[in-house]
């Protein structure tokens, strides 16, 4: 070790000049490196997308309730034009706990016209709503089964490549709302009842979204958890429910692509 004549004692105020110089040099270098690291990490982040969550803002929507198989509200926007809004609950939960009350008083619930007040979530053509108060789900007109839309079969055994995401986070509540880091959250959301969605993007940068169900069109939650948040190839039958696609699958038909997903 270098023989230094100066000697530093922490509780004595004076410091030898050479020692002071060394420390000053270190602090300067440390600051320069610290700020360079801050800048580099900041600049190399991927760009967040403009998905939107109207946190704290209530909007009222009115439409026909249906579960095909996930709770949704069919809102009429124009003559023969509908927007099917996915209903969600607070936190990593589905809308079902908030629909319990009205389910007890209104039987059947499907086909009824409801007015729901909640927080909107939207991105890239898909709209969802978070319900936080069951009192804000109000019956407007009792059920008319004729009003319930029907899924139309489109393609059988379609092969699609994409990532299974949870729509609440993906379409607005979290950024990033998909990928490896977000995976735990997506698993919890889908386990809590939020519908799994397959998000695909083709080479022209056009995205399509599919609500995933089992081969009978019934909900899938627990069985799909191991495949959430990982780019996969999935084979299934495509159905169209107005502005949403539905993909009916058997979970054994999901192949892991073993590829990471970019966050954006």
């Amino acid at each position: 070790m270098k023989e230094n004549k100066d000697f530093y004692v922490g509780y004595i105020d004076s410091v030898a000049p050479k020692t002071k110089k060394t420390i000053k040099g270190f602090v300067l270098a440390a600051f320069a490196i610290l700020l360079a690291i801050a800048a580099i990490f900041a600049f190399t982040q991927n760009t967040a997308k403009n998905s939107y969550f109207e946190f704290g803002v209530d909007t009222k929507i009115t439409g026909i309730y249906h579960e095909l198989p996930y709770p949704m509200l069919q809102v009429k926007t124009e003559e023969n034009e509908y927007r099917n809004i996915v209903l969600l609950g607070f936190g990593k939960f589905s809308a079902n706990p908030y629909l319990k009350k009205i389910r007890n008083t209104t039987k059947p619930l499907s086909g009824s016209t409801l007015s729901i007040e909640g927080n909107l979530i939207y991105y890239n053509g898909k709209t969802l709503i978070q319900i936080t108060d069951e009192e804000k789900v109000v019956l407007v007109t009792p059920s008319d089964a004729a009003k319930i839309p029907q899924p139309i079969a489109m393609v059988q055994d379609m092969e699609l490549q994409g990532e299974i995401i949870d729509p609440k986070c993906y379409f607005g509540v979290m950024k990033p709302g998909k990928g490896k880091i977000h995976r735990s959250c997506a698993v919890l959301c889908i386990s809590g009842g939020i519908p799994p969605v397959l998000a695909t993007t083709d080479e022209n940068n056009i995205s399509k979204y599919y609500l995933i169900t089992d081969t009978n069109g019934a909900p899938i939650h627990q069985d799909i958890l191991p495949f959430v948040g990982k780019p996969s190839v999935i084979q299934g039958d495509v159905y169209q429910l107005q502005d949403w696609y539905q993909l009916r699958i058997d979970v054994s038909d999901i192949q892991d692509l073993n590829q990471p997903s970019t966050i954006y």
Partner: protein, 343 residues
């Protein structure tokens, strides 16, 4: 010294040190958050906080790990070592904010206990690409928490220096966990040559400095006595020892220090009772051997700390033949008084 539970014994150096830590942390956050808001306006507050404090913690950890070997290689870096634990605790606090927000963001408000979810939401412990990286971060945070919680000398005394030091050496395990947490986490999804380079260069620099210091110390430890007379080992000549300083020597595989002061010579153990600092690299101030790390003191003639302090170290017998100094390899019990050799 500092054994009762007084939170911090402030002095002007510690205050300055902490002020610079605060400035550094503030500037880091300002830079990271500022750049992100300007270039990435759609970012959310939670993601921004998680990333800002996570990267801050990593940067601070690298600085903390540099201080040890730098101080061994050049004693002018010792002022950084003096208050290093404040830097360590600051680093822990940054990591805690990162960890807490991450757990809240990704694991709470679901149908499972957050900590259970942390370990079980992703079960692919057998894969590298899909490894549950957050578990590694969690364990690193636990280690850092235990270190921060016991960073006060109160714990050093009550856990015993041996256990305390063993616990605090876990910082290296935490470092490894943090590196893997990033490489198996953020880097899998946002691979960036910059991030890989920063962390790799950081590891190489820290490892190289540690290696250099280790080689230097190994050389010292390999010394053997050139000649032995009657069981007494030759150390050096009287004029080889500077005034108020010491010559470090090895007997029975441990280091001792022979001090020259006030025309006398005394030999004591080289290892300070506080945190094992190299007393032989210290200086005699006001008749007391002063440790270069935190300034603990011992009377050279008997190895005892001046009252009211109670630390004691072993002393060694010296013999002077002409101008040659010989030491008896068997040390005496801690605190044993020996008549110093007069010059």
């Amino acid at each position: 010294m500092g054994l009762d539970y007084q939170t911090v014994l402030w002095n002007s150096h510690k205050k300055k040190y902490d002020l610079w830590i605060a400035i550094g942390v503030f500037l880091y956050l300002l830079t990271f958050i500022g750049i992100t808001i300007l270039t990435n306006p759609e970012t959310t507050a939670e993601t921004l906080i998680i990333r800002a404090f996570g990267t801050l913690a990593i940067a601070l950890l690298h600085i903390v790990l540099l201080i040890g070997p730098l101080s061994r290689l050049n004693s002018r870096f010792l002022p950084l070592l003096y208050n290093r634990r404040h830097l360590g605790v600051s680093m822990f606090l940054a990591a805690l904010i990162h960890g807490a927000f991450s757990i809240i963001q990704f694991h709470t408000l679901g149908n499972t206990n957050a900590f259970y979810a942390l370990f079980t939401s992703n079960l692919e412990y057998d894969s590298l690409t899909n490894f549950p990286f957050q578990v590694l971060g969690f364990f690193a945070l636990i280690i850092l928490f235990l270190m921060a919680a016991t960073s006060h000398d109160f714990w050093l005394k009550n856990l015993s220096p041996k256990i305390w030091k063993g616990l605090h050496m876990m910082v290296y395990v935490a470092y490894a966990f943090v590196l893997l947490h990033v490489f198996l986490g953020a880097l899998q999804q946002q691979p960036s040559l910059w991030s890989i380079s920063i962390l790799s260069i950081g590891f190489i620099v820290i490892a190289s400095l540690h290696l250099k210091a280790a080689l230097q110390e190994s050389k010292i430890d390999k010394q053997t006595a050139i000649k032995v007379e009657d069981g007494w080992e030759f150390v050096c000549t009287v004029d080889e020892i500077p005034e108020d300083r010491a010559k470090i020597f090895i007997v029975q595989k441990e280091r001792i220090a022979i001090f020259k002061y006030e025309n006398k010579l005394s030999a004591i153990s080289n290892v300070c009772k506080h945190q094992g600092g190299p007393l032989g690299e210290g200086k005699v101030i006001d008749g007391c051997v002063t440790c270069p790390w935190h300034g603990y003191q011992y009377l050279p003639a008997n190895g005892q700390s001046p009252p009211p302090f109670t630390e004691k170290i072993a002393t060694y017998r010296l013999k002077k033949i002409a101008n040659e100094i010989y030491v008896h390899p068997e040390g005496l019990a801690e605190g044993t008084a020996i008549e110093p050799i007069a010059l």
